[in-house]
């Protein structure tokens, strides 16, 4: 995918960079850890405040552990599934972004409607050499369409391609 030679607007469906799975997992794990860390004291407070017996504490902690386990399972197994259903296609006319496992969407933004674009990188993304491409249009629902999990260089090339040629008077 990161071959330097072929043009970016090849009209073929591309998957995101596989590194995005690792990135999404890290993000999901961080969220899970934060939620777990916040909710454990809450469990104790509920137990103390209501003056419940010891058995109730065990049950509460078990319930907490179950929720955290489900979140952790989700954090680990969901990113590869989402990855399988996310793709993009760039051609001469514009860009199409597909995603969604259960509720699927395919957003098609013509090149002539692109107002401007961003390529942004968060700290985790930077670590993985990934970037998020954000396409702005004049629309209402899709005034901002983002595509995360691209190789940084690829994102820059797509941006190059999408930007209106020359100093067109698109606005």
């Amino acid at each position: 995918m990161s071959d330097p030679a072929p043009p970016i607007a090849d009209g073929a469906d591309h998957r995101l960079d596989p590194l995005v799975i690792a990135l999404e997992r890290t993000v999901a794990w961080i969220v899970t850890a934060v939620l777990a860390a916040i909710s454990l004291p809450a469990v104790f407070i509920i137990w103390l405040a209501n003056g419940l017996p010891w058995l109730a504490l065990i049950a509460l902690v078990l319930a907490w552990a179950l929720v955290v386990a489900v979140l952790g399972w989700h954090a680990h197994y969901w990113p590869p599934i989402a990855y399988r259903y996310a793709s993009y296609r760039v051609d001469e006319l514009g860009i199409e972004i597909r995603r969604g496992v259960y509720w699927r969407s395919a957003i098609n933004v013509p090149r002539s409607r692109v107002q401007h674009t961003d390529v942004s990188q968060g700290p985790l993304e930077r670590q993985h050499g990934l970037a998020t491409l954000v396409v702005y249009t004049a629309g209402t629902d899709h005034s901002k369409v983002d595509l995360g999990g691209l190789d940084h260089a690829v994102a820059l090339r797509i941006r190059e391609h999408l930007l209106p040629p020359g100093k067109s008077d698109a606005v």
Partner: protein, 527 residues
């Protein structure tokens, strides 16, 4: 060419007046709060001599606060300049912090003039210049002499075509446009139609509610009640009392019920009457004219609004009709532009984008042809949605009905289940009629969508204005090989009817999507 224009001297007055208004609201609240917190009603202007009541000083403080406002008003008048250059409008303002804003003529979405009663007495207008950018007008010029506004309109729209011709020849809008500057009236609403409109839209309740709240707050209503009803006959909880009497098998207080029913009926009549009066005042002498390539709407009795919308700024056009409207064979037609429509969801924004708030359906095709020459409403062949769409639509309807009715039945009494078949039949009827009225059409220049059974809407979006095309598939869609196609345009608001076609066969949806995407991509979007 480069001469600069000042504001009308009266603008000082209006600016100062605006500051006054800013103070007036808190002041009024203060008065009201002061009154109702003290026991017996006190006539205005006389305050209970208490140590914590600010009394007279408070008004003095107001005056001090107004002095800077007066200075600002004078400074703004002195520093504000409008200049017409070859291709742009230049607005200068500010003494300490100077600001010079350049607005190219061809970016102007809308030039709007507002005249309230005071403006008209002085023969001035407040002008709002809107471009596609941002959520509020690019510039508000308050206030210009009325003649200067005419001049501005002429200059801006002449300058715009000059720019358009040299920048891109593709901008030439098709249709006979030899820049004939004579205005043709497309829609004019006589008094009868306005009254009908007020009757149909029934806005009176809001007004009455507001007035009632205000009167209640000020405390005028108490006396009224005491005069009309003696203490017992109208008290809070009257409905509850009546119900209890019925349950206990006592004799019905028929007199009271009659009074209440008469009151409700009277209120309904009054609401409609107020609504009619309000529509007449608001939209008095509504007139839609076409001058060359611009649409111009003018309306209002007290506050007169004149908006100019270039034809090629129109993003979508929507025709609506409700059950009452259908009864008297009327529909409403409105358009959406990209300029600043999201600022306030209030009434004024909506009205400006009306082509005709009320119009006979037979006049609609010619009106639409005038605005969207590439689209012939009368000759549209509407495509139905998927044949199995009803089966899809009826399931959630039935499920929802059961989810509401069963707990209700359990809560009250099982004989309430008698209502259930009726509710189910209604749900099925609604689903069937809705699916039957869904339809879409796509030509080379527009995509159209209609929906609704009792409240019907038809929306036409121009391909040139399509921003993005989305195909959506829910799990249910996938099970029956269907998809939904949604078209995104600029300037749509929360409540607007969008092109959003459900229950399409997957192949049809694919085809429509890629077709629209290609069509949109091969045209240049120009706001």
């Amino acid at each position: 060419m480069l001469s600069e224009h000042r504001l009308h001297p009266a603008s000082m007055l209006f600016l100062f007046g605006r500051s006054l208004k800013l103070f007036a609201l808190p002041g009024l609240l203060f008065l009201v709060a002061g009154r109702s917190s003290v026991g017996p009603p006190i006539p205005f202007g006389r305050w209970v001599p208490g140590d914590s009541q600010p009394g007279g000083e408070w008004q003095v403080w107001m005056m001090v606060l107004l002095i800077p406002a007066a200075f600002v008003a004078v400074a703004r008048y002195l520093s504000f300049r409008v200049r017409y250059e070859g291709t742009e409008l230049v607005i200068r303002s500010g003494i300490i912090f100077r600001n010079e804003r350049h607005v190219p003529y061809h970016r102007i979405q809308n030039l709007e003039a507002v005249q309230n009663v005071f403006h008209r007495a002085l023969g001035v207008v407040e002008v709002r210049v809107e471009t596609g950018a941002g959520k509020e007008p690019e510039a508000t010029i308050s206030v210009l002499p009325a003649a200067a506004f005419t001049e501005m309109r002429r200059r801006v729209f002449e300058g715009r075509t000059r720019v358009g011709e040299q920048a891109d020849p593709a901008a030439a809008f098709d249709g006979p446009a030899p820049r004939a500057a004579e205005a043709r009236t497309l829609v004019h609403l006589p008094l009868r139609e306005l009254l009908l409109l007020g009757f149909l839209e029934n806005r009176g309740l809001i007004l009455i509610g507001a007035a009632y709240g205000l009167l209640w707050e000020i405390g005028l209503l108490n006396g009224l009640y005491n005069r009309f009803f003696d203490e017992q006959s109208y008290a809070p909880g009257g409905v509850r009392l009546t119900l209890r009497t019925i349950r206990d098998g006592g004799s019905l207080p028929l007199g009271q019920i009659a009074i209440v029913l008469a009151g409700i009926a009277g209120l309904l009549v009054v609401v409609r009457l107020v609504s009619m009066a309000w529509a007449t005042v608001r939209l008095h002498d509504f007139r839609l004219t076409r001058t060359g390539e611009d649409l111009r709407t003018e309306f209002g009795l007290l506050t007169r609004v004149a908006a100019t919308i270039p034809l090629r700024r129109i993003q979508t056009l929507t025709i609506r009709e409700g059950p009452l409207q259908r009864l008297v064979t009327r529909v409403s037609v409105r358009i959406e532009t990209a300029g600043g429509g999201k600022l306030e969801p209030g009434a004024r924004m909506n009205e400006r984008e009306w082509l005709a708030p009320i119009i006979h359906p037979s006049a609609v095709p010619s009106l639409v042809r005038e605005v969207l020459p590439e689209f012939d409403l009368a000759a549209v062949s509407w495509q139905p949605v998927h044949p199995r769409a009803f089966r899809r639509a009826v399931k959630p309807a039935l499920f929802g009905t059961l989810a509401v009715m069963l707990p209700l039945a359990g809560l009250f009494n099982w004989w309430a289940l008698v209502v259930l078949p009726v509710a189910i039949a209604w749900a099925i009827l609604v689903a069937r009629q809705r699916v039957r009225h869904l339809g879409w059409a796509a030509t080379d220049d527009v995509v159209a969508f209609r929906s609704g059974w009792l409240w019907r809407s038809v929306t036409v979006a121009r391909v040139v204005k399509i921003q993005a095309v989305t195909r959506l598939e829910s799990p249910f869609d996938r099970r029956s090989a269907m998809a939904r196609v949604r078209v995104d345009t600029a300037g749509a608001s929360e409540r607007s009817h969008r092109v959003d076609i459900p229950y399409l066969a997957r192949d049809t949806a694919d085809g429509l999507c890629s077709r629209l995407a290609v069509q949109a991509a091969s045209t240049e979007f120009r706001w």
